[in-house]
């Protein structure tokens, strides 16, 4: 049923740390690997070895450059983006067949591919580009929050998190219940000032992003290409044995 639940018991989701993400795309690959052989139709590729390769992915990493207005050095921010499992998910209510739904128990937004007619309206309604139509299967693909991993008792406990979280070598992705204020992910959001993407759309995303910390600056608000320390400067400031040696050599 494409009516949204009034509220969900839990709000399972991701917290993505833009300060820590190194932009390695490992989450993209592990996501494709897990989800192409598990939930629903495989994530197909077209012209994979040809001139114009294209394929379905549930997670993509954009990279942005920020130039602070105070002339301090530019900053590169790697920006992974997947379904945000919105509380007011516009993709769910537009679905004419009931294929798209949001689960009342954990808030995960899923597609029942057996009922999907592939009209694409849900992808139109999503501001975040979180849904991609699979060109081979003709059904809509989206992040399932690895619903087939997180409750899977056949897996060791440390593997019961989404594939992207499990694989991230930088620890930039965190998984948990964002509806529980005491959870580690909720505390992380509070401590670091986690924010929503496109809050003006009124979608109330569950996933949060943690802002990059300000970059270290050599000379405060100095010139953009701050000169590095001059190579000879160290000797004059030497202390202890080297300072004595410095003075002794000076006297010879």
């Amino acid at each position: 049923m494409t009516s949204l639940p009034q509220s969900t018991e839990r709000k399972m989701g991701l917290v993505i740390d833009l300060d820590t993400c190194v932009g390695c795309h490992a989450c993209v690959i592990s996501c494709k690997g897990w989800n192409t052989e598990n939930y629903g139709a495989p994530l197909s590729d077209t012209d994979a070895y040809g001139a114009e390769p294209s394929g379905s992915f549930l997670n993509r990493v954009h990279s942005f450059e920020i130039e602070p207005e105070d002339n301090s050095p530019a900053q590169i921010v790697h920006f992974p983006k997947s379904c945000l499992h919105c509380e007011d998910a516009p993709c769910v209510t537009v679905c004419p067949t009931g294929a798209s739904y949001k689960r009342a128990e954990d808030g995960i937004v899923l597609v029942n591919e057996d009922a999907c007619i592939g009209c694409g309206l849900c992808a139109w309604a999503c501001p975040y580009g979180a849904r991609e139509m699979d060109s081979a299967a003709g059904v809509m693909k989206k992040c399932t929050l690895c619903v087939d991993r997180i409750y899977n008792e056949n897996l060791p406990e440390e593997d019961r998190v989404p594939a992207c979280v499990r694989t991230c070598p930088a620890g930039a992705r965190h998984f948990g219940d964002l509806g529980d204020r005491e959870s580690a992910v909720s505390q992380l959001v509070t401590e670091r000032g986690g924010f929503d993407l496109m809050p003006e759309m009124g979608t109330r995303p569950v996933n949060k992003y943690l802002p990059p910390r300000p970059k270290d600056r050599l000379n405060g608000a100095g010139p953009r290409s701050a000169p590095l320390a001059s190579p000879s400067a160290g000797a004059t400031d030497a202390q202890g044995f080297f300072a004595w040696l410095d003075r002794a050599l000076e006297k010879i």
Binding site: M1, K81, V92, V94, T97, C119, L121
Partner: protein
């Protein structure tokens, strides 16, 4: 947005078909017997042909019947119901007119009202999209209904009404373009709000997430229209409104009406192509493609 031919044909044909059916419902220029049969055949085949065309862009059209289930929340599902209900009731009305030479006036009025309602519901599929600011305005349903009625008046041979509706449609069309160009900026979407980082002038895409294309870029990243937009708009206004108005005004009976409708149909196809091709989706912000700011 990608201007899929199946969806352009759907909105143009079913709009004109339901517009014509509305005039037949009002009993304007409606005959009985064999003539009425052909009148209803034309209206039904345009409306139904459009609806069938709309299923061609589906990934799994064999499950299309499921689209009747979610009328509580989905405008697309409501559209399926509205179209089928209108065609059924219009079918009963047509049987009375064709075979019994009896026009049930109240049923006719109901048919007319339901035709307009169906076109309105179709337009809401687009107007509801908060992600496409250009569509997300009250002008979208007004434009769809006006286009359907103008086409209907021409097919029904209502010269004076057609001229009036064509002029109104032309004004609405120009209003849609003028307002549409401002919508994105008005709504305050920017790469900064999309990413939550920096300020609009200080952040830019450094590297796209993939070197090839994907569904999002094919569906939402259509750029071709912008290059020829001004020329196409001039052609659109001329063929959609001005030439048909002139042809009907100068008179000449059925031939000039058919010619006028042919021009109008071409014009409304251009208009609908621009409707899709010019529409900017907010997801493009993540790909560094913001619409040009106002005044450029």
């Amino acid at each position: 947005m990608h201007p899929a031919p199946s969806v352009i044909i759907f909105t143009v044909l079913s709009g004109a078909g339901f517009g014509y059916l509305a005039f037949l419902g009002l009993g304007l220029s409606l005959d009985t017997g064999f003539t009425a049969f052909w009148q209803f055949t034309l209206a039904f085949s345009m409306a139904v042909g459009g609806l069938i065309s709309s299923t061609f862009h589906l990934g799994n059209p064999q499950r299309a019947l499921l689209a009747f289930t979610q009328w509580r929340t989905s405008w697309l599902s409501r559209e399926a119901w509205a179209a089928v209900a209108t065609l059924l009731i219009a079918g009963f009305y047509a049987i009375g007119v064709i075979f019994f030479a009896t026009r049930i006036t109240s049923l006719g009025w109901l048919v007319a009202a339901m035709c307009i309602a169906t076109v309105f519901v179709t337009s809401m599929i687009y107007a509801q999209m908060a992600t496409v600011p250009r569509w997300n305005t009250v002008l979208t349903p007004i434009y769809f209904v006006a286009a359907a009625l103008a086409a209907g008046a021409m097919l029904a041979g209502q010269g004076a009404t057609a001229i009036l509706l064509l002029l109104v449609l032309t004004l609405i069309q120009i209003a849609c373009w003028l307002r549409g160009d401002r919508r994105f900026a008005e709504r305050g979407h920017s790469i900064a709000s999309a990413t939550g980082l920096g300020t609009p002038g200080s952040i830019r895409l450094f590297e796209a997430p993939h070197s090839g294309s994907n569904y999002l870029l094919k569906e939402f990243g259509f750029q071709v229209a912008r290059r020829h937009a001004v020329k196409l708009k001039v052609i659109c206004i001329a063929t959609l409104g001005m030439i048909p108005v002139l042809l009907i005004f100068l008179g000449g009976g059925i031939v000039s009406l058919i010619l006028a409708f042919a021009f109008h149909l071409a014009g409304i196809c251009v208009s609908r192509w621009l409707f899709f091709a010019e529409a900017e989706h907010v997801v493009q912000l993540y790909y560094g493609n913001a619409p040009a700011p106002l005044g450029t």
